[in-house]
Symmetry: C2
Subunit: 339 residues, 2 copies
C-alpha cells in the first residue's frame, strides 16, 4: 500500500498485540476496513512523515500529517518515555492522525521503563452528550498502565462510553434487547431496541441522564477531547466534517504521558505495594453469584499468556477479510492460518 | 484548636469555596465532624508540619504527618504549579494526610497559571469493587480543570462511585427507593432499599456488575488509589484500620498535577479553542425532556457567581453546627449568619 516496512511492522505489532490480548475488535479485523481500504480510498496518506510542532524537555506536540495512527503513536510514546526517563515525566499530543488501535498498547510501553503510562484518543462520533441528541463524541478511551511485581500490572483501558457500538450489533444479531443505559434512539430518547439504538447513538459511561452518573462519563469523554484535540491543536468537534462525508482522514488526535516512578519512591517498593494492593482486591469476598473481583487488565493478561502458548484465535470472518486484503494488495496469504 | 491562623485560613478558604460553588456536602458543614471533632479526639494533629520526602524539578512527594488535609494540599498544589511553570509540568503526591474537601479546588488553582490542573484523593471506604462485597474503596474523586476564554472553564470534579453515600440518606429521609446501580446490601447484592444500601455499600460509576460498565468505575477508583496511596507511599487498603476503629487519622493520600498549556500551543489559541468546543456542546440539540447539554462545572460556576453577588446560603442544620463549633472552641459565633 506504499507504507514503509518499518511503519507496517509497527501497525502489525499493535494489531497482533490486540488480538493476543483478546480484543478482537481492534486487531487484524480492522486491517481491511480501517487501514488498507482507507489508504486505497485516499483518506490516509501511507507515506506521511510526522512533524514535531513544539518540543521541550517535558513536552512534545506532533503533527501526524494524516499518516497511519499506530507508527506515529508508537514513536511519540517512545519519545515521551525517553523524556520521562530524562526529567521525571512528560506529556505528548498527536494531531491530524488516524485510528491508533487499542489505547492500552501505548500506555503499556511505559511499564518496561518503570514508568506509569497514560494514553487517550478521540474517535469517530457515535455518542450523545448527557441531555443531548447530536452525535458529538467517540468512544474516547483512556488507558493507564501501572507495573507490579513479576510482570503483573494494573492496566485500565476503557472507553468512556458505556459500551462500544459493536455491543448493539451483537444484540441485534442475537435478537436481544439492549440493556437500559447503553443507547438512545435518533431523537435522544432512551431505547432498548437494537435497531433504534444503531440508528441513534451510544451513551456515556453512567448511562442515560444524570441519575446514574451519565454526566460523569460524558465529562470523561469531553476530557479526552480536550487533552487530545484541543491541547494538541487538532480538528475539533465543531470543525468535524459531516458524519456522512466520505473522506475524513487525519481528524483524530491522541494524548500520551509517562511518569517515572522513582521520582516518588524506589521502584521495588512501589511494585511490591502495587502487588499487595492488587492481591487485597483479588482475594476480597465475592458478591453472591460472582466469581470474584476482577482487576482491570487481568482477563487480557490471562488471554495473552494463553494465546502466546497455544496460538491466537481469529474469527473465520476475520480470516476471510485477511484473504481479501492479500488479494487487494497482491501479498500471498499466509497458508498456515487455520479458521 | 491549636491550628495556626495561616493553616486555618487555608482550610476556611477551601470550605467556603465549596459552599459558594453549591457543594454544601463538602463545605463548612464538615467543619464540626470532620475537622474540629477529629482534632479534639486526637485523630488529626493540628500542629503537624509536612515534610518533603522526595523532590525533583518535575516531582514532589510530601508526608503530611497527620495534619489537616487542606493546608498541605494547597501548598503542594501551589508548588506543583511553580514547578510546571519552570519545566512544563509536574506531579505531586501527599501521604499520611486527612480529608481535603473538594478535589476541584486544587485542580482549579492551576488555571490562573495557564496550566491544566489535576487532583485526586482516596477516601473512607464505602464502596464495593465490581463483583465484590467488601468495602474496599472510597468515593475516590478525580478533578480536572481546563481554562477557556473570559474566565470560562471546563471543571470536571467527579466521584468514581455512582453516587455519594449522602444520596442514600436523602432517599431514606424522603421515603424513596434507590435508583438501581447506586448501592448493594451487606451481602453485595443489588438493592433499591435505602436502609439496606446504607448498611451495605455504594457502587462504582457504571453500577452493579459489568453490563453497564461498573468495572470501569471500579477501575477509576482503583486508579485513584494507585496514584494517591501507592505512588505516594501512603497507607494502602490492606493496611487500613478496621472500619469500626475510632482513630484513623492520617491514612488519606492525595495526587496533584499541573501541565503548562504553552508547552503545546499558544495559550490564547488554546483557550479560544476550549471556548469553541464548549460552545458546540452547549448549543447542540437537547434530548426530549432535557433543558440541554450541561458542561461539567457549569452549574457550580453559575451558583458561585450568583452566591458571590447575593450571599452564600447555608442549611439551618449547618448554621446550628457552626454555633456548636463556636461553643466548643470558645470563638464568638458570627451574628450576621441568617439561617
Amino acid at each position: 500500500m506504499g507504507v514503509s516496512s518499518e511503519d507496517a511492522a509497527l501497525v502489525g505489532d499493535v494489531l497482533v498485540a490486540s488480538d493476543t490480548r483478546g480484543i478482537e475488535s481492534h486487531g487484524v479485523a480492522r486491517l481491511e476496513g480501517f487501514y488498507v481500504d482507507r489508504i486505497r480510498d485516499g483518506q490516509v496518506d501511507p507515506k506521511a512523515t510526522s512533524a514535531i510542532v513544539r518540543e521541550s524537555p517535558t513536552a512534545l506536540a506532533v503533527d501526524a500529517r494524516n499518516g497511519l495512527g499506530h507508527p506515529v503513536s508508537v514513536r511519540t510514546m517512545r519519545r515521551t518515555i525517553e523524556k520521562a526517563r530524562d526529567v521525571g515525566m512528560a506529556v505528548s499530543t498527536v494531531r491530524n492522525s488516524n485510528h491508533y488501535g487499542i489505547a492500552g498498547y501505548y500506555a503499556m510501553l511505559a511499564m518496561e521503563a518503570d514508568c506509569i503510562g497514560i494514553s487517550s484518543t478521540n474517535a469517530g462520533r457515535l455518542a450523545v452528550p448527557t441531555g443531548g441528541r447530536d452525535l458529538m463524541l467517540g468512544t474516547n478511551p483512556f488507558a493507564y498502565a501501572i507495573p507490579a511485581n513479576d510482570g503483573d500490572s494494573f492496566v485500565l483501558d476503557m472507553a468512556t462510553t458505556t459500551v462500544a457500538r459493536g455491543k448493539l450489533e451483537i444484540a441485534k444479531r442475537l435478537g436481544k434487547k439492549l440493556i437500559p443505559g447503553w443507547a438512545v434512539d435518533v431523537d435522544g430518547a432512551m431505547t432498548t431496541d437494537p435497531d433504534a439504538g444503531l440508528e441513534g447513538a451510544v451513551l456515556p459511561l453512567g448511562g442515560f441522564g444524570t441519575e446514574t452518573g451519565g454526566h460523569k462519563g460524558f465529562g470523561l469523554g469531553l476530557l479526552s477531547e480536550m487533552l487530545c484535540a484541543v491541547l494538541g491543536g487538532g480538528v475539533l468537534v465543531p470543525d468535524m466534517p459531516p458524519l456522512s462525508g466520505a473522506l475524513n482522514g487525519g481528524i483524530t488526535s491522541h494524548f500520551f504521558a509517562a511518569i517515572r516512578i522513582d521520582s516518588f519512591r524506589d521502584v521495588a517498593d512501589f511494585k511490591a505495594d502495587v502487588s499487595r494492593e492488587l492481591a487485597a482486591f483479588r482475594t476480597s469476598a465475592p458478591a453472591p453469584g460472582s466469581a470474584g473481583v476482577v482487576i482491570a487488565g487481568d482477563p487480557e493478561a490471562a488471554k495473552s499468556e494463553e494465546q502466546l502458548r497455544n496460538g491466537v484465535s481469529l474469527d473465520p470472518v476475520v480470516v476471510a477479510s485477511l484473504a481479501r486484503v492479500a488479494e487487494k494488495t497482491g501479498v500471498a496469504p499466509v497458508q498456515s492460518l487455520k479458521s
